[in-house]
Symmetry: C2
Subunit: 342 residues, 2 copies
């Protein structure tokens, strides 16, 4: 199944619980906005594109539950959903899109139809990202990735892992180094699981091994996803991305970001203005329920970091591969999409 699926008969959104993978394949059934908000907050569903689409479906649930003031109820729902995770802009993008639709006259069925369209679009967008990214992956390449920007972070296929899937499917004979991605272990738990199922050869490494393998010339390129891209090309993504980008730069290894146009936030001039979510220190001091630090130790947990545009070799989108100067290339790509939508 897809990472998230809506049942139009039962009016329920079913999510694959990503906090339990790979040990257990458990599904979460959401019946209300609050159910979906909880699933996003607790990272049962995560990844910028996936939470955007989950939020759109939550808006359909809100529309269905509305007893009269549809716009007012949807605005309230958007406030709840928008507050769940501050860094990924796709969430706000999805909510704004549903609200705009609602204001032009809508009902629960039409909001659901829009959410379904957004889910299908996401898969199509990812396949285009994969196709464009393919040109950047040499024969026999060793690709390093961080976190999970795969099918599990989207509706299906993935962004960074979309590029990996496309390269693998076209017989490039690639191998992937998967950063485990502490503290939440998206790499160790989710990316390995996806790549294993797709038959892509991989090696799991701890995050702090990346430099070592780059120094030994074992890495040909890095590709990661993004949670928000500022107008100047600065990229917010999972904590640890910035360190990787610096290491790649030091070793003259291209560092690519794969993300849909909806991740680009032209309202924000640079990465300095991107809000960085601080999560619980307990997610650092405990791993899968096991305590790893002494009682009373303080831990920091910025969930994301910002990679300045100068470290980014290219941004792979569904509208093509964008390069510096990003202020121009990003604005042009966003405008092209706006024209298509309008």
């Amino acid at each position: 199944m897809r990472t998230l699926e809506f049942d139009p008969n039962a009016w329920t959104l079913t999510l694959l619980d990503q906090t339990r993978l790979p040990r257990e394949t458990i599904f979460v059934v959401c019946r209300s906005v609050e159910d979906v908000a909880h699933a996003i907050r607790s990272m049962q569903v995560r990844g910028a594109p996936a939470i955007g689409v989950a939020a759109a479906y939550a808006m359909a649930l809100a529309a269905r539950a509305s007893s009269g003031d549809l716009i007012g109820d949807l605005e309230k729902a958007a406030d709840v959903l928008g507050a769940t995770r501050p860094t990924a802009v796709n969430l706000q993008w999805a909510l704004d899109r549903v609200l705009a639709h609602a204001r032009s006259g809508a009902n629960a069925a039409s909001v659901l139809a829009l959410a379904n369209d957004m889910a299908d679009e996401d898969v199509a967008v990812n396949r285009r990202i994969g196709a464009f990214g393919l040109d950047l992956v040499p024969e026999g390449a060793n690709v390093l990735t961080h976190c999970n920007a795969g099918a599990l972070a989207t509706v299906d296929y993935g962004t960074a892992l979309g590029v990996v899937r496309a390269a693998h499917a076209s017989g490039r004979g690639i191998h992937v180094y998967v950063d485990e991605t502490r503290p939440f272990l998206q790499g160790a738990r989710l990316t390995t699981w996806e790549l294993q199922q797709a038959g892509v050869p991989l090696t799991l490494i701890t995050d702090n091994m990346a430099g070592h393998f780059m120094y030994r010339r074992k890495v040909d390129l890095v590709v990661v996803g993004a949670d928000r891209i500022a107008a100047n090309g600065d990229v917010a993504n999972k904590i640890g991305t910035y360190s990787l980008a610096v290491l790649a730069h030091e070793h003259a290894i291209p560092f690519y970001v794969a993300a849909p146009i909806s991740t680009i936030d032209l309202s924000i001039p640079s990465g300095h203005a991107i809000p960085i979510e601080e999560r619980s220190s307990g997610e650092v001091t405990h791993i899968q329920g096991v305590t790893i630090a002494p009682e009373g130790v303080e831990a920091a947990h910025p969930a994301f970091d910002v990679t300045p545009a100068r470290y980014v070799a290219a941004i792979i989108t569904e509208r093509g591969v964008l390069r510096a100067p990003y202020t121009e290339s990003l604005a042009k790509a966003v405008q092209a999409v706006d024209q298509l939508v309008a």
Copy 2:
């Protein structure tokens, strides 16, 4: 107690089991060379200086167990102990020192006396490292450290944490960012525990957060230990050290290595020749007994990496703070110690 203590009445070496900290304070009692070799292999005792002294005590146990051919039996014991962990040179240095002593006429009691001297020397050396390192720590500094180069990695006081202890004791008002240090979590489990007991303010971070905090100007200096330093100043240390050194360089943050002269291996011209121990992939795919990756996933586990000398701002030793060109400063420092010993 010290990290390791020898009981001259029972002829036993007692070690604080570092695989169980901080959850349990358990002691391992070693009665034979094989007991000590097992403790080193399984990392119940770890840290280059600590395993050197543990090996010296194991040689005393071998001497005591010898039924006649003392030199032959000590050579056999040295072979077993020397094969336990290939990267740290202090182990071989300690074994060579005991063998040289034995060849000049020795018995079990005199080997034990030598091991006791080496243990006491280690503490004195660390205090001198701390005193020299103090000059490099500004008032109110935020210090970042990796792994555990503390009392637990030595007989007492520590090398990198010796510098931290000295700065804290002299009222510099420092704060320490502690890298958790996957996969073995020496930072999360051991360094936090030591610093907490010493009352040094600390924040635990995952390894991949270091770049983020450097970018935000939260880190004033990095200080780490070393397992082997080549003649040109290249430093082998816990996996992840190299990434930190590159990040520190990018942010113009001084990167210091604190280590005794016994860590310097002039027989090796550069880091390329330092053997890097490969440990079990199970130490990556499991954390404290909990599986974090799907069944059948391959994981890499180089236990150390090499930091080229050009990233090292200074090497803090018991003979002073050594700086580039290291080929000259290291040779001079080693020669000075050889003259003292001779």
